[in-house]
Symmetry: C2
Subunit: 145 residues, 2 copies
């Protein structure tokens, strides 16, 4: 039951909230001991703050919840490959696992071949990637109308 897909679907629900708020639809959750301890969705437009990516908000919320800046026993699920900013935050937080959905060819830290992530962070790629990609594509198609 509590598979990576299960938690990624909760991250996708967060992305859907971003979509409904007219934000680029990206969502994230942090999981510890099979429990969601933090959620976040992209709020760059609402807050007019480029640092308000889903991952940054979820990491800050998870640290608040645990009272710890390190998230070694946590998994971050995010619907899109993290950018260098978020990759850097994942590095500093020493997340045990990172699970992402769609690759971000242009601004994803792995796709850009940037060695930003911590070597101890286990990375799983492509979980529900197609659903994530579809939602983002739909968002930009609507923008073009």
């Amino acid at each position: 039951m509590l598979t990576d897909e299960y938690f990624m679907r909760i991250a996708l629900q967060q992305a859907q909230l971003a979509f409904e708020a007219d934000e680029i639809p990206i969502g994230a959750v942090v999981v510890a001991q099979n429990t969601v301890i933090a959620k976040g969705f992209n709020q760059v437009e609402r807050l007019q703050d480029v640092t308000a990516h889903a991952e940054i908000l979820a990491i800050t919320a998870a640290s608040n919840y645990l009272g710890s800046k390190y998230l070694k026993d946590c998994t971050l699920y995010v619907t899109l490959e993290p950018c260098p900013m978020c990759g850097g935050a994942i590095y500093w937080g020493q997340l045990g696992r990172l699970v992402y959905g769609a690759a971000d060819i242009k601004r994803g830290c792995e796709s850009m071949n940037l060695n930003v992530l911590h070597p101890k962070t286990n990375i799983i790629r492509g979980v529900l990637g197609e659903e994530s990609r579809k939602l983002i594509r739909l968002f930009f198609e609507q923008k073009r109308l």
Copy 2:
């Protein structure tokens, strides 16, 4: 009067506040039209939040002040070379100028040869770098006692 050294000295005062709060002493200010519109110092320990770097706090504060996520006409002064996380935030914010003090050989995004910063951001390096380095060295020497 309103030179890069002048504003970097204000960033160093922010670093001093971090030092007094027992944080790694790094400070930042954002300047628009020769006016300081935002300040920040490292608060990772106090907030137990790895995203609370001086630059991130200063960028968020500057965007709040201006009501704009883009900071094209702004200069970010920071006492230490930004890490990839902060470099990524500087990229997204499209800062017009970045002025930093000491290089960070281990975790600075330029020192790591990571192509994170925006090509349109003008970068000035080494402003009051020795003073910044001394303060950081003093911090870690005290920690070792």
